[in-house]
């Protein structure tokens, strides 16, 4: 999902995530540190309070002066915290309450087991332990922390002072600090996030620009691609430089291709002119010879007739060549029918028999196709004659005519005449390009012209020794 997101957003988002995570980690660390400090402070405070009280409390226990102990505890509790968050309980040697600053909850003479659940859970051995040192015990449901402070006289234990800090005293302070730290972190994040977003966006910009430019390659000509790529020595800068060079190469290559196309076209025209000149020059030579012969032997018997015959034959040849080139002059004819296709098959009989060819013929034209029969017959005839000519003896020639989805007429002719070389493929549809024993090399050129006139297209495939011509012509609606 995230992989498909543009770097335009991905980099700023990553920056933001890192900033938020950092903020959260720093906040957590600070809060934890604060908690620890607060705990340590409170413990230190408890030890100080305990040390200050224990001297007087020691005398109170010794003299069994409950009232003095109570006043001391009550005054201390009130001075420390007016909300009763500080609990002070003095336990005597038998761990019974001697006095406390909250006598209702911790009445005089109540034993440890009958006190609050936290104190009930407090093992006596826990109190006896660690003889003359104060120690913190954390923590209970109502009391957040309490400190056990021994009261002793010359090493003899007289009792213990329990100093308890209620949640109500600790939590507001803690929450206040958490709130302050969170607000500060949020403030820093609010400053950093837009900055991170801006930096991330700036970083992604060249990459996005480069990507947009690359996307345009192939869609619009390289000349028209506008780019605003900054030069730099970093990776994106190098990529941009390479891309610019590539675009320049592409431009030169396309220019070169256009030049090649023009020169090829000129060459084709040249070849065609040469072909036409050759085809006309031959009979013209013959005719000029005949006229010379006639000048010298005009009185001899039979010469005028023979001359006329030669002239007629020469002119006939020229007419044949010229009319073959004038493809568009072929007149309109009736719609192509099943029988028209079958006629071609009949006409091919002689050639098939000569080379003992296996002709596979598929004529699937059920209803007459709305296409001029003369032209289609010429296309089919030309392709078939070509195939038969190229096919080796006793090979198979495949011919198929059908209408596809009532929209196209499809003609497919295949032979096994072997692969055509690249040059032959290139010049396949040019006139006079490959004259062979059977013709003057206009067959495929004429076919190509007719197909184009009918708005169709012709495709040649040359694969594994098989050459196949596929012609598709759109059927006319009326």
């Amino acid at each position: 999902m995230f992989r498909n997101v543009s770097y335009h957003y991905k980099i700023p988002l990553s920056f933001s995530v890192v900033i938020i995570l950092t903020g959260m980690i720093v906040t957590t660390a600070l809060v934890w540190q604060t908690y620890e400090n607060l705990r340590r402070d409170i413990f230190r405070n408890a030890v100080e309070v305990g040390a200050a009280l224990s001297g007087t409390l020691q005398l109170s226990i010794k003299h069994d002066d409950v009232w003095r102990a109570y006043r001391l505890l009550a005054d201390t509790g009130q001075a420390a915290d007016r909300d009763g968050g500080l609990l002070l309980v003095v336990l005597d040697e038998e761990y019974k309450v001697f006095a406390s600053n909250q006598p209702r909850q911790f009445p005089v003479l109540a034993s440890l087991e009958n006190l609050s659940p936290e104190f009930a859970g407090l093992n006596k051995s826990l109190l006896q332990n660690n003889n003359n040192e104060a120690r913190p015990i954390v923590q209970g449901a109502t009391l957040w922390m309490y400190v056990v402070h021994p009261i002793h006289e010359y090493g003899t234990r007289l009792g213990v002072l329990l100093i308890g800090y209620a949640h109500s005293q600790f939590l507001p302070r803690y929450y206040e600090i958490v709130w302050n730290v969170s607000i500060s972190s949020l403030g820093v994040m609010l400053i950093l996030l837009p900055l991170g977003w801006y930096l991330g966006k700036n970083m992604a910009e060249p990459l996005v620009e480069l990507s947009n430019c690359m996307e345009m390659v192939g869609q619009i000509p390289p000349d028209e691609i506008e780019y605003n790529l900054k030069e730099a020595d970093d990776e994106i800068g190098l990529l941009s430089t390479r891309f610019r060079e590539m675009l320049e190469d592409l431009r030169v290559k396309q220019q070169f291709e256009r030049q090649v196309l023009v020169s090829e076209r000129l060459a084709a025209i040249g070849r065609m002119s040469a072909g036409v000149a050759h085809e006309i020059n031959n009979p013209l030579g013959g005719m000029l010879n005949a006229i010379n012969t006639f000048k010298q032997h005009r009185h001899e018997e039979g010469v005028p007739e023979k001359t006329l015959y030669l002239l007629e034959r020469g002119l006939g040849q020229i007419q044949e060549t010229v009319s073959a080139l004038l493809v568009e002059s072929i007149p309109e004819s009736h719609p192509l029918s099943f029988q028209d296709v079958e006629d071609i098959r009949t006409l091919l009989h002689a050639d098939i028999n000569k080379k003992n060819i296996n002709l596979v013929w598929e004529n699937n034209l059920v209803i007459p196709a709305l296409l001029p029969s003369t032209q289609i017959r010429q296309i089919l005839m030309n392709l078939c004659l070509n195939a038969l000519q190229a096919a080796p003896e006793e090979s198979t020639v495949f011919c198929k005519v059908c209408a596809v989805e009532e929209e196209n007429l499809l003609i497919e002719v295949r032979n096994e005449g072997g692969d055509l070389d690249d040059e032959t493929m290139e010049l396949l549809f040019e006139p006079f390009a490959h004259q062979n024993s059977g013709g003057i090399g206009l067959g495929l050129w004429v076919t190509y012209q007719i197909v184009r006139q009918l708005g169709g297209e012709i495709v040649v495939k040359n694969q594994d020794g098989t050459v196949s011509f596929s012609v598709g012509i759109p059927l006319r609606n009326s």
Binding site: D65, V66, W67, Y70, P103, R104, P107, V108
Partner: protein, 292 residues
Amino acid sequence: MAKVFVKNKKCCRFSILVFLLFLNLVFSGQLIGAESAVRFGLTPVILDNQRDFLENWQKFLEKHLERPVIFIQRRTYGEITEMLLQEQLDIAWICGRPYVQHQQKLQLLAVPLYRGKPLYQSYLIALSDNTKIDSILDLKGKVFAYSDPDSNSGHLVPNVMLSRVGKDPKTFFAKTFFTWSHRDVVSAVASGLAQGGAVDGYVWETLNLVHPELTQRTRILNRSQKFGFPPLVARPSLPKNELLLIQSALLQMNKDPNGIQLLQKLNLDGFVEGDDALFDGIRESLLFLTGY
């Protein structure tokens, strides 16, 4: 060694200087002058912690006696009584019980009038929201607050009450303690430190006017019979004329606007000469409890 010698020498000089200064004071009459002041001992039989009141009362007495008056306060009744017997005080406001115990040596100076009579009661109090306790017998095995071991209302009365129903005050309560003032008995019970306490009824009522939030947290279980109000007494050797002067100053208080204002502060109506028979109730109690 030389340094030590120098130090000692300095010390010696300083001591001589102090001694000369002392002699100077004695002969100039400063210390003798202090002896001529009326030394007035106070105990927590009244709310003795109102500095403004004491200053005004001091001015009033000084004006009428034309002598300086010094108030002296101690934590316990016993200390004041002892100072009085040792003649370190001229007069003192003490409880009826020490007066009865030392009546041969002490001179009765005056007895305050409370609600028109020189009488007061002892109150037995408990926490107001503890409805399970209705009488002193319900306090068995509980924590009990006394005011002072020498107090009639705050110690003698509850003990006599228990003894009369055949209970031993020493073992009846699980724990007892002294707060050394009636006011603190009320505080001890109100805070829940003690489940019951014995307090001077006059102090409780006066406190009820000044700090009702404190007294409202306590409930009166029992009001005792009436006893002679804690009297003002004089040291054994105080000359009669001095005693009468002081007595007259006290008796005139309810006739003087300033005196009336001071009495209002004390929640008292005035002072009377008083009759020794007022304290017969306390005598009976002592006789019953201790046999003498």
